[in-house]
Amino acid sequence: MARYVTFTVADGLYGVDVLRVQEALRGHERTRVPLAPKGIAGLVNLRGQVVLTVDLRPRLGLPQLDEDADPMMVVVQVAGEPVSLLVDEIGDVVDVPADRVENPPDTLDPDLRTLIRAACTLDDRLLLVLDVDQAAAAA
C-alpha cells in the first residue's frame, strides 16, 4: 500500500509520497529570481522562512505558468529544506494498493523518465508519481 498526495498540473494527475509533504496551501506572493533556471518560480515567505518555489510545468514539457497565475503550493521536504511545488489544484490523499503501482510506461518521453517514478492505475484515471528530489532540482 502506498499513500500519495495528489494534485493536478494542466489536467494531468500527479502524486508525491505523503511522507515527503509538509503542507499544502494557497499560493503566496512570489519574489522572482532573475537569471534562475526556468523551473524556479521564485521565493515565498512561509511564516518567516524563505522557501524556494518550483514550477513543474517546464519539467513536464508544459508551457510556463503565467506571471499572474494563482496556483496552489505543495510544500515538500528535500534534503531537510522545504521546497514548494506549484500545482493547479490539490486533490485527495489516495491509498494505492501495491499491485496497482507499476513502472512508468516505456513510451514515456525520456526527459520525463527521471521525473516520474511510477504510474498508478486508479479506478477512473492514471496517477503519475513524481520523484520529489528530481522535481525540486528544477534544472
Binding site: 519574489t31 532573475p34 537569471l35 534562475a36 518567516g48 524563505v50 529544506e81 532540482a137
Partner: protein, 852 residues
C-alpha cells in the same frame, strides 16, 4: 592558584578538551586513513598546543609537539600513510602531552616527565624504524599521580585499579575517584565526556570492589549517584581519609545535590568552572564555595540554540510588524495599545538575544600582552603594547574567527614591523617600539587596527619580491600604485617566511589572514609609510546573521545591497543634462566630481532589459566598492537602509552566482541579497585594475571591432578652442609633468613606459596658444609598436558624433567642424596631427582600420 596564572589555566582547559578530541580523531583516522578533515583537525590541535606552549615557555611540551607535528606534516602532505605504528606513536605523544599537562597543572612546571623516549619513538617511526622504545608506562604513573588512568586507557582494568584507589583514600586527595560509582569525586573536570570520566566509568566496577576490600574506605561507592554521568565538580570529599569517613554521608549528600544542580551547567561550561585538581583539593572550603558561585552565574549555551532563538525572534518581529499595521488600520485603542506593547517587547527581546552572542574583543586581546612580551624578547625587540577599545563587542563566532588573523598580525608586527632597539635609536626613534591595538565601532562594523611605529614596508621591495616569485611581471608592478603594491602582500604564495620556524609558522601568510577575514564578510587592508610605521586594518561586520543593507528597487523587485559596499548615492535627473549618463564606446559612464565612474545597470546584470535608468536617464547610481574596484550600480529607486536577517540561499540558486542570500523584509516580502563582488567580477572583467585611463582602454578593448561606432573625444586646446577626435583610436589618456619633456632632433618627446613617446602640441599645430602648466594631458595614439602623444589642455567630454552637423572647412590639421553641446567644435585631422609628432607613424604595414 598561586603559580598558575590565568593564561596557563586557560591553556590547560583548552588543551584537555583538544586532547579528548585528538584521541577520537586519531582512532578514527586509523580506520579511515585518507580523511583529510580528520587529519587537519589533528594537525590543528597539535599545532595550537605547540604554539601556545612555546609562548608559555613549556620547552618539553613544545619539543614533543613539534616532533609530532613534523610527523603529521608528512601525513598531511601524503608522504606517509596512517599505519598502526604511526597511530601508536601519535597516541603515545597524546598521552605524554597529557602527563605533561598534569604536571603543569600540579606545580606549574613540566619536570619529571620522560619526553625524550616519546620523541625518540616518533622520530624512529618517521625515519622508518619500528618503534621499539619501551612505553614509559611507569614514568607517568609514578610521577604524575592524577593521570595514570589516562595512560592506561586501553590496558586491562585490574592493573591500574590499585593505584587510583589507594592513592585517594590513603594519601593524595587529588586523585580522582571514579565518577559513576562515587559522586563525591574530587575531580574538577566537569565535562561528562572527558576521558578521565570515561576511564573512571570503565574501571568502575573493579574499583568499587577494591574499595570495599579496603576496610578503611568510606562507604562512598555503595550509594548510586543521582547524576551518574556527571562527575560532581568541587565536591568537598577530598579531605583526608579519616575526615571522609566521618563526613562521608554529609559529603555524599551535598555532592549528590550538587551533581544534580550543576550537571547541566557543568557539561556546558567547563571553562568557567574548571579548577585544576591540585588546587581544588588543597583549597580551603570557603574558596571552593566562592568558585562555585562564580561558576553558577554563567552557563554555556549552544550557539545553534541561540541561532534558533534569533530566527524565532526575527519571525516575531515580522509578525509584530504586520500586527502593528493591522492595529493602525483598525482604530481600536486597546488593540493599538497591546500592539505597541508587543512592539516594545519584541524590540527588547531582539536586542537581548543579539547581545547574548556578543562578547568584548578584550577576550581575544587578553592574550596579546604575553604574546608580545615573549616574542619581543625572542626577537630582541623592545615593545610597548597599547590596547584601546577593548570593550568593543562583536559576535562570538566572529570573535573566534578573527583571533588567529589578529594574533598573526601582532606577531608579524613584532617580528617584522618594529626594528631592533639599536636600529631605532640610529633613526632617532626611542628604543622602545609602540604596538597599538585599537578597536572601535564605525558604520555598523567593528574596525580593528594593528598599528606599529616600526620601519614600514618598502613598496619597492614588495614589488621586487612579487616579480621574483613570479606573481606579477615587472611591467605590471611598474604601473602599480603604492597601495596596490602593498596589497600584493595578501597574495597567496607571498609569505615572507624564509624557513619554517616556531615563530613564522608553516607558510601561514597574509593571504590566510585575508581569506579568514573575508570568509566572515570582513575586509583587511594595510597602510605603511617607510620609517614611520604600518597600520593593518580589519573591518569586521558586527554579526553574521544581521546585516545592514540598502534596499533598492529594479523593475518592480526589491534587492538588498550590503551596506559595506555602498560608498555613496547619486540621483540621476533626466531634466538636468549635465548630470546625464555618457558613453565611452558602448560602456555607460558617469562623471563623478571629475572622475569617470563606470556604470553597471542592475537590470541588465539580472537580464531584465536595459533598465529604466539607462533608458530614461532616471534613477539612482549606487556607487559601490568591491575589492579594489569602484563602480556605479544603476537602480530604479533606493528604498531605505535596514538591518536585514540573512537566510542562506537555496541550493538550486547558488550556481547563479549573483546572490549571496535572501532575507524577509519588514513588509513580509522576500528580497535577494546581491553579491556585489560577484557582480563586479561578472561585469568588469575587462577592466585592468588600477591603471590611469584604464577605463577608456578597457572600454575600447571591449569594442575594438566597432570602430564605426563614432564617438568623439572633445578636448580644449587653448584660446578656448575645442577640437574633437574619434575616440576609437585613442589608446589612453595620460597626465605627465611638463619638465619630463626632452628634445630629440627638434622634436619633443617624453620617456614613457620604457619607450620614447613623440609629442605633438595641438595648440601650436592648430594655431592656438595654451597656457604653460606644470602638468600636461596627453591623448595617446598607438599603432602597432608606435605611439604618439597629442598634448591638449583639458578633456571636456565624450559625445556621440552627430554626422549631419558636420561642415567642411579647409584648414590645416582639421577636417571639418561640428556643433557639440551648442558649441562649435573643430574636428581634428588625427592623421595629420599624428604625423606631426612622428612622420614614420603610418609607415609600418598594419591594418589601417586601427587608426581611423
Amino acid at each position: 592558584m598561586e603559580d598558575i596564572d590565568e593564561i596557563v589555566r586557560e591553556f590547560l582547559v583548552e588543551s584537555h578538551e583538544n586532547l579528548d578530541q585528538l584521541d577520537r580523531d586519531l582512532v578514527a583516522l586509523e580506520e579511515t586513513p585518507g580523511a583529510r578533515d580528520l587529519l587537519s583537525s589533528v594537525f590543528r590541535t597539535i599545532h595550537t598546543i605547540k604554539g601556545t606552549s612555546g609562548f608559555l615557555a613549556f620547552g618539553n611540551l613544545e619539543r614533543l609537539t613539534h616532533v609530532g607535528e613534523n610527523l603529521l606534516v608528512e601525513l598531511r602532505d601524503g608522504k606517509r600513510s596512517m599505519d598502526h605504528a604511526t597511530t601508536d606513536v601519535l597516541l603515545r605523544m597524546v598521552d605524554t602531552v597529557r602527563a605533561l599537562l598534569a604536571v603543569i597543572e600540579r606545580d606549574g612546571t613540566e619536570g619529571g616527565v620522560d619526553v625524550d623516549s616519546a620523541i625518540a619513538a616518533i622520530v624512529a617511526v618517521q625515519e622508518g624504524k619500528t618503534a621499539e622504545v619501551p612505553h614509559p608506562r611507569e614514568v607517568p604513573a609514578a610521577e604524575v599521580a592524577p593521570q595514570p588512568p589516562v595512560a592506561w586507557a586501553s590496558e586491562p582494568v585490574a592493573a591500574p585499579v590499585a593505584v587510583p584507589v589507594a592513592v585517594p583514600v590513603v594519601e593524595s586527595p587529588a586523585e580522582p575517584e571514579p565518577a559513576p560509582a562515587a559522586p563525591a569525586v574530587p575531580e574538577a573536570k566537569p565535562k561528562a565526556k572527558t576521558p578521565r570520566a570515561k576511564i573512571a566509568k570503565r574501571t568502575a566496577p573493579p574499583v568499587s570492589a577494591t574499595v570495599e576490600t579496603l576496610a578503611a574506605a568510606p562507604p562512598v561507592p555503595a550509594t548510586p549517584a543521582p547524576a551518574p554521568q556527571a562527575p560532581a565538580p568541587q565536591a568537598p570529599a577530598p579531605a583526608p581519609a579519616a575526615h571522609v569517613q566521618e563526613d562521608a554521608d554529609a559529603a555524599l549528600h551535598a555532592a549528590a545535590q550538587q551533581a544534580l544542580a550543576t550537571a547541566a551547567a557543568a557539561a556546558l561550561e567547563p571553562v568557567a568552572e574548571y579548577v585544576p585538581v591540585k588546587e581544588l583539593s588543597t583549597a580551603p572550603l570557603e574558596e571552593v564555595g566562592q568558585l562555585r558561585t562564580a561558576a553558577e552565574s554563567s552557563i554555556r549555551v549552544d550557539v545553534d540554540l541561540l541561532d534558533q532563538l534569533m530566527r524565532q525572534v526575527g519571525e516575531l518581529v515580522l509578525a509584530r510588524n504586520r500586527l502593528s499595521r493591522l492595529a493602525g488600520a483598525a482604530q481600536d485603542a486597546d488593540l493599538a495599545r497591546s500592539a505597541q506593547q508587543i512592539n516594545l517587547i519584541a524590540t527588547e527581546l531582539q536586542d537581548g538575544v543579539m547581545r547574548t552572542r556578543m562578547q568584548p574583543i578584550e577576550h581575544v586581546w587578553s592574550k596579546m600582552p604575553r604574546v608580545v612580551r615573549d616574542l619581543a624578547s625572542a626577537c630582541g625587540r623592545e615593545v610597548r603594547l597599547e590596547l584601546t577599545g577593548g570593550d568593543t563587542e562583536l559576535d562570538r563566532g566572529l570573535l573566534e574567527a578573527v583571533k588567529d588573523p589578529l594574533t598573526h598580525l601582532v606577531r608579524n608586527a613584532v617580528d617584522h614591523g618594529i626594528e631592533s632597539p639599536a636600529d631605532r635609536v640610529a633613526k632617532g626613534k626611542s628604543s622602545q617600539g609602540l604596538l597599538e591595538l585599537r578597536a572601535s565601532h564605525a558604520g555598523g562594523q567593528v574596525v580593528v587596527e594593528v598599528r606599529d611605529d616600526g620601519a614600514g614596508i618598502d613598496p619597492a621591495k614588495v614589488a621586487a619580491k612579487a616579480v621574483s616569485k613570479g606573481l606579477r611581471t615587472a611591467e605590471q608592478v611598474a604601473a602599480m600604485s603604492t597601495g596596490d603594491l602593498l596589497n600584493l602582500l595578501f597574495l597567496p604564495g607571498f609569505s615572507t617566511a624564509e624557513a619554517v620556524t616556531n615563530v613564522s609558522g608553516r607558510g601561514v601568510g597574509m593571504d590566510v589572514v585575508r581569506t579568514r577575514v573575508e570568509a566572515i564578510g570582513g575586509t583587511v587592508d594595510v597602510e605603511s609609510t617607510i620609517g614611520v610605521g604600518t597600520v593593518w586594518r580589519l573591518r569586521i561586520p558586527l554579526t553574521l546573521a544581521i546585516l545592514p543593507a540598502l534596499t533598492v528597487e529594479v523593475d518592480g523587485d526589491v534587492y538588498a545591497v550590503p551596506q559595506v559596499h555602498v560608498l555613496e548615492l547619486v540621483a540621476l535627473d533626466s531634466a538636468r543634462s549635465e548630470s546625464a549618463i555618457e558613453y565611452v564606446q558602448t560602456a555607460p559612464v558617469y562623471r563623478l566630481r571629475g572622475e569617470l565612474l563606470q556604470l553597471v545597470s542592475l537590470a541588465e546584470v539580472l537580464g531584465l532589459g536595459r533598465g529604466q535608468a539607462l533608458e530614461n536617464a532616471d534613477g539612482v547610481i549606487v556607487v559601490v566598492g568591491a575589492d579594489d574596484n569602484r563602480f556605479g550600480l544603476l537602480v530604479d529607486r533606493v528604498l531605505t537602509t535596514e538591518e536585514i536577517v540573512v537566510t542562506p540561499l537555496a541550493t538550486q540558486l547558488k550556481s547563479i552566482g549573483i546572490y549571496s542570500g535572501t532575507t524577509v523584509l519588514g513588509d513580509g516580502g522576500v528580497a535577494l541579497i546581491l553579491d556585489i563582488q560577484a557582480v563586479a567580477r561578472r561585469t568588469l572583467l575587462e577592466v585592468e585594475r588600477g591603471q590611469s585611463g584604464s577605463l577608456l582602454s578597457a572600454a575600447q578593448a571591449a569594442a575594438s571591432d566597432q570602430v564605426e561606432a563614432a564617438q568623439l573625444l572633445v578636448a580644449e586646446i587653448g584660446d578656448d578652442r575645442r577640437v574633437a577626435m574619434p575616440l576609437a583610436s585613442v589608446a589612453r589618456l595620460e597626465h605627465v609633468r611638463s619638465d619630463e619633456v626632452e628634445m630629440v632632433g627638434g622634436r619633443e618627446v617624453i620617456q614613457y613606459r620604457g619607450t620614447i613617446l613623440p609629442l605633438a602640441r595641438l595648440d601650436r599645430l592648430l594655431g592656438a596658444r595654451a597656457e604653460a602648466t606644470d602638468e600636461m594631458l596627453l591623448v595617446v595614439y598607438t599603432r602597432g609598436e608606435r605611439s604618439v602623444g597629442l598634448v591638449v589642455e583639458e578633456i571636456v567630454d565624450i559625445v556621440e558624433d552627430q554626422v549631419d552637423h558636420h561642415s567642411e572647412i579647409d584648414d590645416r590639421g582639421l577636417i571639418g567642424s561640428t556643433v557639440i553641446n551648442g558649441r562649435v567644435t573643430e574636428l581634428l585631422d588625427v592623421r595629420a596631427a599624428v604625423l606631426a609628432a612622428d612622420d614614420q607613424f603610418y609607415e609600418d604595414e598594419i591594418d589601417e582600420r586601427e587608426v581611423a
